[in-house]
C-alpha cells in the first residue's frame, strides 16, 4: 500500500485485532485507513497506489548518493520508560541512515500483528511512530500489515525501511579511522539497555532509568557541519559501545584505546550494572552515536555535540592508535589496561 488513505475512509470500530483484519477485505482496508494512514499522512490525499514514488530530481538536489537501510523491531515490552516499539522503529532506521551521512527522506513501515492485540495499543504505537517521524522530518510513505495467529508472533513486530540521500562530497565509513583520530559519544551510555531489562520486571528492581531512544539526524547535521572531516559514525545499539568500537577497529585495521574515566554514565545505570554484574559497555543505546573525527576537529565536534539538546553529556572517550589492528583496549581507572572484546551472546546478569 502507499501511505495515503482511500477516499472512502471509515472509522475503525473494532476493539481487538482478529485474523479478519489481515484478510484483504474491507476490514483490513478500514484498519489501514483509520489506524495507520490517518496518523501517518494527516490530511494529505493521494491515489492509493501499491508503492510510494519519488521525484529523482528532488532527491538529487539533496546529495549525490542514495542510502537505503532496514531494521526490524521486536522489543518486549512494547511500551517502556522513555519510549515504545513505534518510536524505536522510527529512530532506529532514521539513525541508521543519518550515521552514513545521509539526510533521511522516507520510511516504510511493515507490521506483523498477533491476533488479539488491543486496537488501542496499536493506535498508541502508530501515533508514536507518526509523532517521531514528524520530529525527525521524515515521511512514512509506504507500508504493509499482516495479522498472524496467536503465538505466531509476540504481540507486534515492526519493520521499517528507509531511504535517504548522502550529502555530496561527504565520505564517512567504518574503514576510515586513522591512528591519532579521536573517538566521541554524544551522551550517557547504557540507558536503553538498562531501561528495557528493568521494564521486563523479572528482576524486581525499581529505578527511573529511561530509554535514550531519539532520532539523531538533527544532531548529526550539526556534528557534520562542525567537523567536515569526520571519519565515521555508528549508532551504538545492540552490543553497546563495545560492539561498535570493535567493528571500527577491525574494519579500519587500527587499535582503539578507550578511557574508562571519561565514559559518560548515569549513576543509576552504574548502580543497575553493579547489582546485576553487567558491563555497561555492552548495554544497548538507542540515541547514542559513536563518532570518529580527525584530532584537529575534535574540540569543534565536541562543542557542536554539547550545544545540541541530545548531546549535552557528549564526551571524548578514546583515541585511535596504531596498536594491534582490531584490538580495543581500555585504560581502567588507575592506568591498568584491559581488552574490550565483542560480546559472544546476550549479556546475562552475573549473580553468583
Amino acid at each position: 500500500m502507499s501511505a495515503h488513505p482511500s477516499p472512502k475512509r471509515r472509522a475503525f470500530g473494532a476493539k481487538t485485532i482478529t485474523l479478519a483484519h489481515g484478510g484483504g477485505g474491507s476490514a483490513m482496508r478500514d484498519l489501514i485507513d483509520d489506524v495507520f494512514l490517518a496518523p501517518f499522512s494527516g490530511e494529505r490525499r493521494d491515489a492509493p497506489e501499491d508503492q510510494a514514488r519519488f521525484d529523482l530530481a528532488a532527491l538529487s538536489a539533496k546529495g549525490d548518493r542514495l542510502a537505503f537501510t532496514t531494521d526490524s523491531f521486536v522489543v518486549d515490552p512494547l511500551f517502556f520508560p522513555g519510549g515504545d516499539i513505534g518510536k524505536l522503529a522510527i529512530c532506529g532506521t532514521v539513525n541508521d541512515l543519518a550515521v552514513g551521512g545521509a539526510v533521511p527522506v522516507a520510511l516504510s513501515c511493515a507490521v506483523i500483528i498477533e491476533e488479539g492485540l488491543d486496537v488501542e495499543v496499536l493506535r498508541r504505537v502508530v501515533g508514536s511512530m507518526a509523532e517521531t517521524a514528524r520530529a525527525a522530518g521524515v515521511s512514512i510513505s509506504t507500508g504493509d500489515t499482516k495479522v498472524v495467529a496467536r503465538g505466531a508472533c509476540d504481540k507486534l513486530f515492526i519493520t521499517t525501511t528507509g531511504i535517504g540521500v548522502v550529502r555530496s562530497g561527504l565520505d564517512v565509513g567504518i574503514t576510515r579511522a586513522r591512528p591519532g583520530d579521536v573517538v566521541l559519544v554524544n551522551g550517557l551510555l547504557g540507558d536503553h539497555g538498562a531501561a528495557i531489562l528493568n521494564a521486563r520486571g523479572d528482576l524486581a528492581l525499581d529505578t527511573e532509568i529511561e530509554s535514550d531512544c531519539a532520532p539523531l539526524n538533527g544532531l548529526i547535521e550539526t556534528l557534520i557541519a562542525a567537523a567536515p572531516g569526520i571519519r565515521m559514525m555508528r549508532d551504538a545499539t545492540r552490543g553497546g559501545i563495545a560492539a561498535v568500537v570493535n567493528e571500527l577497529a577491525e574494519a579500519s585495521a587500527v587499535g582503539v584505546r578507550l578511557s574508562e574515566l571519561s565514559l559518560p554514565m548515569r549513576p543509576e545505570v552504574q548502580g543497575f550494572c553493579e547489582i546485576l554484574g553487567l558491563d555497561p559497555l555492552y548495554l544497548a543505546n538507542e540515541g547514542k552515536i559513536l563518532a570518529v573525527v580527525p584530532p584537529e576537529e575534535a574540540q569543534a565536534a565536541l562543542a557542536a555535540l554539547r550545544a545540541h539538546p541530545l548531546g549535552r553529556e557528549a564526551a571524548i572517550i578514546g583515541t585511535v592508535s596504531d596498536g594491534r589492528p582490531g584490538r580495543v583496549t581500555m585504560e581502567t581507572r588507575f592506568g591498568g589496561e584491559r581488552i574490550v572484546d565483542m560480546l559472544v551472546g546476550d549479556q546475562l546478569p552475573r549473580i553468583c
Binding site: 523479572d202 524486581a204 585504560e331 581502567t332 581507572r333 588507575f334 551472546g345 549473580i351 553468583c352
Partner: protein, 374 residues
C-alpha cells in the same frame, strides 16, 4: 557509590602498586619463579580482569585463578538434571542468569528454553518464591547454586516457603562449600601456591576462623579480601608482606564487611535447612568429600530432587580439557589445546569457559595481555 568509589581510587592504587614493586624487588633475590597467589573466588578473578590489575603488577607476582566460580564447577550431569526438571510440563524453572549458559551433556538451560521449557531468569530466590505464589497451578523450581555466600539466601527462602505454606515451590540444591575444596587443593603434592586471597563474601557468612588450618597446617598466608581493585591490591600486599616476614597467618582486609565470627543468623538458617552430602562432584576437579550440601529430611518437601525423578547420571568432562590443571594453577588457560578453539564462551567445553568468572572465559573476554606476550 559509597564504599565502592573510595576503593577504586587511582592515587591509592599507584601507592599500593609502588609498595608491591618495592617488596617484590626485595624478594627477588634468589628467586627463579614468580610467587603464585591464588585468588580463590571467581568474583575476584572477574575484578582482576575488569580493572586490568595483572598488567600493573611486577613479574615476580602472578595471580592464579582458583576454583571459586560455582557456575563453572557445576558438573554436566547436574545440568542434565536441571534440564530434565525444566522440561517437565508443570514446571517453571527459575535460575540466576549466568547459570543459563552452562552446558550439560546435551544442552544448556538456554537451549532448553528455546525448545519450549519454561525457564525464567530471576535476580533472587525470593523472586522464584513470588513466581510460585503467582502461579499456584505450576511447580516452581529454583536452581540453587553457589557457595556459602548464597546458601543463606536459599535456606531463608525455603524457610519462608515453609512458613507461608507455598507448596508448589522447591529447590534444586547444588550448593557447595569452599573449605573442603581448599583442603583438597592444598593436600595435592605439587600444589605450588605461595599464598591466598580469601573469598570476601563467603567469609562474611562463615567468618575468618575456618581458614586457620591453611596457616597452621599448610603454612600458607591467606588474606580475606574485598572486591574493589584497591581491596585486591592491598590484600596482595598483605600476603607479600607475610611472605617476606616468613609468616603464615589469616588476615582480614575486608573488615568493613567481614566480621571474624561471620553472620550467625545466616549460619543458623543454613544449618537448619541443609546437611552435608558425603561427596559432591566438581567439574574439572572430580569428587570432593563433604563439599556439597542437601536439604534436610525436615525440609524434604521443598527438595526438587525428592519431588522429581532426575536422571542423576555422571558425565565425564571432555578428555582433552585441562581445566583441573588450570584450576590448581598448574597450567595457564592458553596452555590448553582447546583454549579459544574448540572451547570458547559461545560453545564452552570446559568448566572455566562457562561463566565470565571462570579463568578461561575471563582470559578470553578481557584478554590476558601477559599470556599473549608469553
Amino acid at each position: 557509590m559509597r564504599f565502592v568509589d573510595e576503593f577504586r581510587d587511582p592515587a591509592l592504587a599507584k601507592t599500593l602498586v609502588k609498595e608491591i614493586e618495592a617488596i617484590s624487588a626485595r624478594l627477588e633475590r634468589g628467586r627463579d619463579k614468580p610467587f603464585a597467589i591464588m585468588e580463590v573466588c571467581g568474583g575476584h578473578t572477574h575484578a582482576i580482569f575488569r580493572y586490568g590489575l595483572e598488567g600493573l603488577l611486577p613479574d615476580l607476582v602472578e595471580f592464579v585463578h582458583g576454583p571459586g566460580c560455582p557456575v563453572c564447577v557445576l558438573p554436566m550431569g547436574r545440568v542434565d538434571d536441571c534440564v530434565a526438571i525444566a522440561e517437565r510440563e508443570e514446571v517453571i524453572f527459575a535460575t540466576f542468569g549466568d547459570a543459563m549458559r552452562v552446558p550439560g551433556s546435551k544442552k544448556s538451560l538456554l537451549q532448553a528454553k528455546a525448545e519450549g521449557a519454561d525457564v525464567r531468569m530471576v535476580y533472587s530466590p525470593l523472586d522464584a518464591l513470588t513466581l510460585a505464589k503467582r502461579n499456584p497451578d505450576r511447580q516452581v523450581v529454583f536452581f540453587g547454586l553457589g557457595f556459602e555466600t548464597t546458601m543463606p539466601s536459599t535456606a531463608l527462602t525455603v524457610l519462608r516457603a515453609a512458613r507461608e505454606k507455598v507448596e508448589n515451590f522447591s529447590l534444586f540444591c547444588n550448593h557447595i562449600t569452599i573449605i573442603p575444596t581448599l583442603r583438597a587443593l592444598l593436600s595435592q603434592e605439587d600444589f605450588g601456591i605461595d599464598g591466598f586471597i580469601g573469598p570476601g563474601h563467603v567469609s562474611m557468612v562463615i567468618g575468618t576462623t575456618p581458614y586457620r588450618f591453611i596457616a597452621e597446617e599448610f603454612k600458607k598466608p591467606l588474606v580475606v579480601a574485598g572486591f574493589e581493585p584497591i581491596d585486591l591490591l592491598q590484600s596482595l600486599l598483605m600476603v607479600l608482606r607475610q611472605i617476606e616476614a616468613g609468616q603464615a597467618r589469616i588476615e582480614n582486609q575486608y573488615a568493613r564487611v567481614v566480621p571474624v565470627e561471620g553472620n550467625p543468623a545466616a549460619l543458623k538458617a543454613v544449618n537448619e535447612v541443609y546437611e552435608p552430602r558425603a561427596t559432591f562432584e566438581w567439574r574439572g576437579l572430580g569428587s570432593i568429600a563433604g563439599s556439597g550440601v542437601r536439604l534436610r529430611e525436615a525440609y524434604g518437601a521443598f527438595d526438587a530432587e525428592r519431588r522429581f525423578a532426575v536422571p542423576d547420571m555422571k558425565v565425564a568432562d571432555p578428555a582433552q580439557c585441562r581445566c583441573g590443571e588450570v584450576l590448581t594453577g598448574a597450567a595457564k588457560p592458553w596452555a590448553c589445546p582447546e583454549f579459544g578453539k574448540g572451547c570458547n564462551p559461545e560453545t564452552p567445553l570446559g568448566a572455566l569457559m562457562v561463566s565470565s568468572e571462570g579463568a578461561c572465559a575471563a582470559y578470553y573476554q578481557y584478554g590476558g595481555l601477559r599470556g599473549e606476550a608469553a
